[in-house]
């Protein structure tokens, strides 16, 4: 099945998504890699509302032109690095759509099942293609401390995809299935 969702996405809509489905997202997403996960988990308050956005495992290539940031290339980064943080992150911020590549492990699978969320895969390396689906850069946090790849970038995206539902809210995972073969 193919779905076109606007963020934020409610529980009922998340429950419709099954492993192997194709999803396109419109709305706000934020990037977070290892360091941003770490910082956000330590802080009592963060300067934006992650619950209304999808989380994107991405360290984008950006360019500042006449005072405004532009996306040059922004594909997903390897999600398995964030496995050590993700269950806590989902619990703390109510994240219910995670965009990444390469898959995640059991801890994330369990959290997605418990809190009704999905992990969707975007084609790794397809950075130029992804950048063209990003309409606007809405903000950036921790740029000075963490540098361009690790900072939290807030993007407004339109029909971002195709995203493949790779872990659903029922505990099913494409990666787990393939491993069992």
């Amino acid at each position: 099945m193919e779905y076109h969702y606007t963020l934020p996405v409610d529980k009922e809509k998340i429950k419709k998504l099954k492993v192997g489905d194709i999803l396109y997202l419109t709305g706000k997403i934020f990037t977070a890699r290892d360091e941003t996960h770490h910082i956000m988990l330590e802080k009592d308050k963060v300067p934006f509302d992650p619950s209304e956005m999808a989380l994107f495992h991405c360290g984008p290539l950006m360019k500042k032109d006449k005072g405004h940031w532009h996306v040059i290339s922004a594909g997903p980064t390897t999600s398995s690095r964030m496995e050590i943080f993700e269950d806590e992150f989902i619990k703390k911020f109510g994240t219910n759509i995670i965009i990444g590549k390469g898959g995640m492990g059991e801890r994330t699978e369990n959290a997605l099942q418990k809190y009704t969320g999905v992990y969707v895969a975007y084609t790794g390396g397809a950075g130029a293609l992804a950048a063209d689906k990003i309409e606007e850069v809405l903000g950036v946090y921790w740029l000075e401390e963490l540098g361009m790849p690790e900072a939290a970038w807030i993007f407004k995206v339109k029909e971002f995809g195709p995203l493949i539902v790779a872990i659903d809210s029922y505990g099913e995972s494409i990666y787990k299935k393939l491993k069992k073969r």
Binding site: I72, S73, G124, G125, A128, L146, P149, I164, I174, Y175
Partner: protein, 286 residues
């Protein structure tokens, strides 16, 4: 000799590597796209579209523009050998702003990003010397996602060639979708630990589809491709027939007590570009 002119050439070399994938890898991806179906086909379609888009718009195809890595073969008759290192470093700084490249050099102790793709030992330049007066530079920017899946095995010689083959197949299956398959796997067998890994990386410079000149090694390469592709990991680890596009093996003689096997994984974005600098300072990028 006009140094600014050479720097301009090296920037063009980096741009070519980052935005325009060589035809051997593009053709291999197109062939994979032909034989795949379903989700695997969707992944390869996105990859091929992305390659076209990056080339057309002269933008880096992947946001991870890699650690800047160069293999340089210097003709000993080249008049400005001592200046080459500085020229490469300057060109990397210019390329970072101009192309642009993602700032990818982080101090491992402080966590601070150097912001210009320069740092201790980086850009990484591998020097070799030869006769003549031309300099050949291969730009080989290496992304972190696939590099993270590299592995060194200090095997016991008693496991034999079968042990070596099983180690490679098991490791590539274990890393699954993490290194952005379909990948190219570079393997160095023999030497010491460092040499095995270095040969593994150098093996990736060989064009996709070109087997080792050594028949015995070529046979092993073919066998490993078949075995790994049976795993059904597929493009991006989402299932499919194409997990690796090629396996390239280089060998060195080993110590009687050691059997090092260095595996270096390369994502589908097998970025390479070449440049020749002549002794008069003129250059060509291809």
């Amino acid at each position: 000799m006009d140094q600014e002119h050479i720097k301009k050439g090296i920037v063009e070399l980096i741009q070519k590597a980052e935005t325009d994938l060589p035809s051997d890898i593009v053709n291999a991806l197109k062939n994979a796209h032909e034989i795949e179906t379903g989700i695997a086909k969707i992944q390869l379609e996105a990859i091929l579209k992305n390659i076209e888009l990056a080339k057309e718009t002269k933008r880096p195809m992947c946001q991870d523009t890699g650690i800047q890595t160069f293999f340089v073969t210097v003709g000993i008759g080249f008049p400005k050998i001592l200046e080459l290192k500085t020229l490469i470093e300057d060109a990397v700084k210019i390329a970072t702003i101009q192309i642009p490249l993602r700032p990818n050099t982080v101090n491992p102790l402080t966590g601070l990003n150097h912001k210009d793709n320069i740092g201790a030992y980086i850009p990484y330049v591998n020097w070799e010397f030869t006769n003549g007066s031309d300099v050949l530079i291969t730009a080989f920017p290496k992304g972190g996602g696939s590099e993270n899946m590299s592995k060194l095995g200090m095997l016991k010689p008693g496991v034999g060639l079968d042990g070596v083959k099983n180690f490679i197949v098991d490791e590539i299956i274990k890393v699954g979708g993490n290194p952005c398959p379909p990948t190219i796997v570079g393997v160095g067998i023999g030497g010491g630990a460092d040499l095995a890994l270095k040969l593994g990386k150098k093996a990736l410079l060989r064009p996709v589809g070109v087997h080792s000149k050594d028949n015995k090694i070529a046979e092993i390469e073919t066998e490993l491709i078949k075995r790994i592709n049976k795993s059904n990991i597929g493009p991006m680890g989402l299932g499919g027939k194409t997990t690796v596009l090629d396996v390239h093996i280089e060998m060195a003689h080993r110590h009687p007590a050691s059997l090092p096997v260095g595996i270096v994984v390369q994502c589908w974005a097998n970025r390479r570009a070449h440049m020749i600098i002549h002794k008069d300072g003129n250059w060509e990028v291809k």
